[in-house]
């Protein structure tokens, strides 16, 4: 009996340790546009590779109410997905903030699941195309990006970024390989950084998509609005939030901040900094422009195609035209312009760094280069 009590005590102490210093409880609700998705499951993966292979998954249990879930996770970064079934239709969500950092504190993470899309690949022009849909209507504006798997966590411009035309269609010429295709629509078209409330995030559960030689793949991306339940739900659906709306919103991910740069993730080792100002031909500061740094190490010459590469670092100029870029040590081509992810346009203010004939600048780890000026002007008069 004494031994039993001792073992029980040790078990309880151990449980307390796990609870207080280990796993965090995550709760939330999974919603379709017609309300809570009963029987929905949320699955957490440590890496995107695990998500793709559906390996090493931590699966949620049902919560106290329809559509709600609960999952206990050790602190760390996770790729979270949700899925449900209804009347033979499969629904899916990939959280737009993946990978999400789970601390040792309670979090409420809602999911908006969408009907699953299918991938159709057949002999044709090599690449990936399709439509971007929100509420089954083509998305008129926004951008769509193709990422290679090593672009994880899939933020920034990826290997290819296109603006969406009014038809909501896209097409990417791609070399054979596996790609993750994601679309986004921001309410502030020139915004960069994490998506804000109401911005659309569009995904397909068929990611990653494999491009084979001489094969064309077609797929639809479906969108949900970040943290905007009012917009997501169909008009005739009751709001499931009830009296606890304020509490839930406080613990939601609305205020989560993930730096959205082309490189994604943290920089190993000492960072390098390039800072300066963007001005026009009259010497006036240019606020609100995007300054991008493209890797130049492997290229002895500036050629236009380097600007199709993924930018390593992106920043926006402040009210006085100042910018600050953090990057890995190396050489970079610097460009200042009004937009991200589109070719230069008529009337757009555009400029290259002109401190060298190939428009590049080198910076060492731990070094800060200041006073790096870029002159822009409106192009194509």
């Amino acid at each position: 009996m004494k031994a039993f009590l001792h073992q029980s005590f040790c078990f309880l102490v151990g449980l307390m340790f796990v609870t207080t210093a280990g796993a965090a409880t995550i709760e939330g609700i999974v919603l379709t546009d017609s309300g809570p998705a009963e029987g929905a499951k949320v699955v957490a993966y440590r890496t995107f590779a695990d998500l793709t292979a559906k390996a090493n998954a931590v699966v949620s249990v049902e919560g106290g109410k329809p559509g709600q879930y609960r999952i206990d996770l050790d602190p760390g970064k996770y790729y979270l997905t949700a899925s449900s079934q209804r009347q033979g239709q499969s629904f899916f969500a990939y959280h737009g903030l993946n990978p999400i950092t789970i601390a040792d504190a309670y979090q409420w993470i809602p999911f908006f699941v969408l009907p699953e899309t299918k991938l159709n690949c057949e002999v044709g022009y090599q690449g990936i195309g399709g439509r971007v849909l929100y509420k089954e209507t083509p998305l008129r504006h926004g951008s769509v990006t193709a990422y290679r798997l090593d672009d994880e966590p899939f933020r920034g411009m990826g290997v290819l970024t296109n603006s969406l035309p009014a038809e909501g269609t896209f097409w990417f010429d791609l070399t054979p390989g596996r790609y993750v295709v994601i679309a986004r629509q921001r309410q502030e078209p020139d915004a960069i950084g994490p998506l804000k409330k109401g911005d659309l995030f569009c995904y397909t559960p068929t990611n990653p998509i494999e491009v084979n030689p001489a094969h064309a793949c077609q797929v639809d991306l479906r969108c949900y609005p970040r943290d905007d339940l009012d917009h997501f739900l169909s008009q005739d659906v009751l709001d499931p939030r009830g009296k606890r709306l304020a509490a839930r919103k406080d613990s939601s991910l609305e205020k989560a901040s993930i730096q959205e740069t082309g490189r994604g993730g943290a920089i190993d080792g000492p960072i390098a900094i390039i800072a300066g100002r963007v001005i026009n031909l009259d010497g006036q500061p240019m606020p609100g422009l995007v300054v991008s740094a493209y890797p130049a190490d492997a290229l002895p010459l500036f050629q236009m195609y380097v600007l199709r590469f993924k930018a390593d670092s992106i920043a926006k100029t402040d009210d006085k035209g100042f910018y600050r870029l953090e990057m890995r040590p190396g050489s970079y081509y610097l460009v200042a312009r009004e937009k991200v992810g589109d070719a230069p346009n008529e009337g757009e203010h555009y400029g290259l760094y002109e401190g060298s004939a190939n428009h590049s600048l080198s910076v060492q780890g731990g070094e800060t280069k200041t006073g790096v000026q870029i002159v822009v002007e409106s192009i194509m008069p």
Binding site: F302, Y350, A357, N358, V375, M380, P381
Partner: protein
């Protein structure tokens, strides 16, 4: 060492604002950015990349020769020397005193130098009575505005190439290049009129650029004639090109109006034989050649 010193002094001198060179001076420029308005005359040798900075305008006087040395720093068998214009360029020669852009090599050949590139310029650039030889592309214009007339493009890999641009190309002779005119992106407005385009391997090559990957063309390429009214290719003599007078590149699915040109014959069937379009590749758009010019355009080419 002496050469380096000369290059350095020349480069420093050249950065002085408003400097005009005497006819007798032969200036050698290595990698340098011109930040002030500059005038070139006489003979200029480019041994690397010369950039006309934003805010600066390069004026090249009639009779000037700009020679480009062969340098291949990226080992792609294309000379790297280049004149890159971010600011503006006014190269206005005359029939009697044209401006020459050519190779500095003793035995010149195509691709000895890269190009005169006008890139994201905010000026209305003008080139007239200019001669381009032995380049990869004599002239490239991207995201810029340029008027090019009475110019000669001969013995280059490409006579000229342009993408998203406001371009007027008229009264030029484009001959003996691998590709005479290459229009990528298929965006305009572009006017190609009253030119003589002959004895190239391909006269005019219209292609959406498959290399451009950041939204450099309409996503989806649905075949919608979205560029209608932005491209005017008319009143040209496009004839005697070895492979095709006109070729549509892969994925160029739009039908294109190319009427009122002289193709070396007035028979529609014979003209079609010199064109690579939907008749040879069902995935491509059609070159709409009607109405055909029934005889050679008399005022096409350099005046």
């Amino acid at each position: 060492m002496i050469l380096r010193t000369v290059l350095l002094i020349a480069s420093l001198l050249f950065c002085l604002p408003g400097l005009a060179l005497a006819d007798s001076a032969e200036l050698v420029l290595a990698d340098v950015v011109l930040h002030e308005d500059t005038v070139w005359r006489g003979t200029i040798t480019v041994d690397g990349v010369v950039v006309v900075g934003r805010g600066a305008v390069l004026t090249i006087e009639p009779g000037t020769t700009v020679r480009f040395r062969y340098r291949d720093r990226n080992h792609d068998a294309i000379g790297d020397s280049e004149l890159r214009v971010l600011g503006g360029i006014r190269a206005q020669g005359t029939a009697e005193r044209p401006i020459v852009f050519t190779s500095a090599e003793p035995n010149p050949s195509p691709k000895d130098w890269s190009y005169l590139l006008i890139f994201t310029s905010g000026k209305k650039n003008q080139l007239e009575y200019c001669q381009f030889s032995y380049a990869f592309s004599g002239l490239q214009v991207h995201f810029s505005t340029a008027e090019v007339h009475d110019c000669l493009f001969r013995e280059n890999q490409e006579g000229l190439r342009f993408g998203r641009a406001k371009m007027s190309l008229h009264h030029c002779l484009i001959t003996q290049n691998t590709i005479g005119v290459r229009f990528t992106r298929m965006e305009g407005p572009v006017e190609i009129q009253h030119n003589e385009i002959n004895n190239n391997q391909t006269g005019v090559f219209l292609v959406p650029s498959g290399q451009n990957i950041v939204d450099f063309f309409e996503p989806g390429r649905t075949g919608k004639p979205w560029n209608e009214g932005h491209l005017d290719i008319s009143a040209n003599n496009i004839r005697s090109n070895r492979e095709y007078n006109l070729k549509l590149g892969a994925k160029q699915r739009w039908d294109l109006q190319v009427g009122r040109n002289w193709w070396g014959t007035s028979t529609a069937t014979a003209v079609a034989g010199t064109i690579f379009d939907q008749q040879r590749d069902a995935e491509l758009g059609r070159a709409l050649i009607e109405p055909l010019a029934l005889k050679s355009i008399p005022d096409a080419g350099i005046r």
